[in-house]
């Protein structure tokens, strides 16, 4: 077979390109929902882990957050996905939902450490100045610390989201037809792995390259108030 025939078999015959397209759709859908959920969970967990009493002692929330991070980071994400699919949400047949939840909960643990780092990187004098004016802890976080922390977390958060997109490639384990699984299926049907697998790799690469460029733009815009 010539290269062009192999290309045709992998992408054109039987409208196979539509399979890849829907695979990309599922990959992005899961990554997007999981990413949003991860940011929400991560921020909450980070604030919990940083919470102290007025005397500066850790609270019960600190221990809950630490336990969450330990458990999630201490187990493989494939296993978490399988547990979610076969045990916790065994009654659900909405695979995208189950996968989004599983990846969101997983990502939340990593995002929480990113957010915590971003908050700790804000000079502690900023907090002291806010509190010395009579602002509450909440107000100080809301108006002073978090807006500055956002700038710090964008690069590592982008990194985390990129990892997340590629990590969704394991949803084939719970029979979801994401980009990786579709490529694999086409390969087994055409007895030619080269075109579908390399094709899928190129698609992932392009998605992530575009995303990296957008993140770079966002970062430059966020740095504006640093300009002299």
């Amino acid at each position: 077979m010539t290269l062009s025939e192999r290309f045709e078999a992998a992408f054109i015959t039987g409208d196979r390109w539509k399979l890849y397209l829907s695979g990309v759709g599922i990959t992005l859908e899961i990554a997007l929902f999981a990413g949003i959920l991860g940011i929400i969970i991560g921020t909450v967990i980070a604030l919990m882990k940083l919470s102290t009493t007025e005397e500066g002692k850790p609270t019960v929330f600190t221990y809950i957050a630490t336990a969450y991070i330990d458990v999630i980071r201490g187990t493989p994400s494939v296993l978490q996905l399988l547990i979610m699919w076969f045990i916790i949400m065994a009654s659900s047949n909405n695979g995208v939902l189950v996968a989004s939840l599983s990846f969101g909960i997983n990502s939340g643990a990593y995002v929480s450490e990113i957010v915590r780092g971003g908050i700790l990187a804000v000079d502690k004098g900023q907090r002291e100045a806010g509190r010395s004016l009579g602002l509450s802890t909440f107000q100080t976080y809301r108006y002073i610390i978090l807006p500055q922390a956002v700038k710090n977390v964008i690069p590592p958060l982008g990194n985390e989201f990129i990892t997340l997109i590629k990590e969704t490639a394991i949803v084939g384990y719970v029979s979801l037809s994401d980009l990786t699984r579709v490529a694999n299926q086409v390969a087994s049907r055409t007895y030619d792995a080269f075109m579908p697998l390399i094709g899928a790799a190129v698609i992932y690469f392009v998605i992530i390259k575009v995303l990296s460029m957008l993140l770079g733009k966002l970062e430059r815009r966020m740095r504006k108030s640093d300009n002299r």
């Binding site: 007025e54 005397e55 500066g56 000079d123 004098g125 900023q126 002291e128 100045a129 806010g130 509190r131 010395s132 004016l133 009579g134 602002l135 509450s136 107000q139 108006y143 002073i144 807006p147 500055q148 108030s225 640093d226 300009n227 002299r228």
Partner: protein, 245 residues
């Protein structure tokens, strides 16, 4: 106005040993006084100042502000801090906000003034420190002296009853020290109660009603500026003054 009773502060060092920074301080600050605190580094003077508005929690002892024990359980410390301004060595202007927002954030968010009133008050205060033209810039574009003057204005906009200054000129280039001290002198002349930790002996001599010498967590000596500088009693203070004057 502020009465400090047997104030102690201990820090637990990373190696687990107890570091006694303040070892039983008693002092009374009256309305309108300008208390200047001097002493070698590590003597506890900044810690003392930071205990006054509970940025540091005292290990034991009481601080009574306007008849109210602010170290008692159940005190709303945010309400107390609204009446005590604080100026820091490193300015600590909010980097994400313009100068104007830096000044108006607290009065507006705490419901003391509306946006318009706060801006008018801020313009009035900025005029007093000659920085009206900087209202809409971010702190990153200001010099150290400008930052510190804005930081003073930010505290003043809350109409505090007392102002605490924690080495306000120590992080400044020498040529900018004067402009900040001038603002502080004007404030003192206007009758503000002030507690100032500083190494500026000229300022202490000129402005203070009382000068305190801190050493090893104690007030070793307390006197009027004339007596303090001309007739130091303790050996430690004599040594200290011979080094800094």
């Amino acid at each position: 106005m502020i009465t400090v009773k047997n104030l102690c502060k201990e820090f637990i060092d990373p190696d687990g040993s107890v570091n006694k920074v303040l070892t039983g301080i008693d002092y009374e600050i009256n309305k309108g006084e300008k208390i200047v605190i001097v002493g070698p580094s590590g003597s506890g003077k900044s810690t003392f100042l930071r205990c006054l508005n509970l940025l540091e929690r005292p290990t034991s002892g009481n601080i009574i502000f306007d008849g109210e024990d602010i170290t008692a359980k159940g005190i709303d410390i945010n309400k107390v801090r609204q009446r005590m301004g604080m100026v820091f060595q490193n300015f600590n202007l909010f980097n994400n906000l313009t100068v104007m927002k830096n000044i108006t954030l607290a009065p507006v968010k705490l419901g003391i003034m509306n946006e318009k009133e706060a801006e008018n008050a801020a313009y009035g205060l900025l005029k007093r420190v000659n920085l009206v033209d900087k209202a809409d810039v971010y702190p990153a574009s200001l010099s150290g002296g400008q930052k510190q003057r804005i930081a003073i204005v930010r505290s003043l906009c809350m109409n505090p009853e007392v102002m605490l200054f924690d080495e306000p000129t120590s992080a400044l280039d020498p040529e900018m020290v004067g402009e900040v001290l001038d603002v502080m002198k004007k404030l003192a002349n206007a009758g503000m109660t002030m507690v100032v930790v500083t190494h500026e002996m000229g300022f202490a001599r000129e402005v203070a009603t009382k000068v305190l010498f801190f050493d090893e967590g104690q007030i070793l000596e307390e006197n009027t500026p004339e007596e303090f500088f001309e007739n130091p009693q303790s050996k430690r203070l004599q040594e200290f003054l011979s080094k800094v004057l």
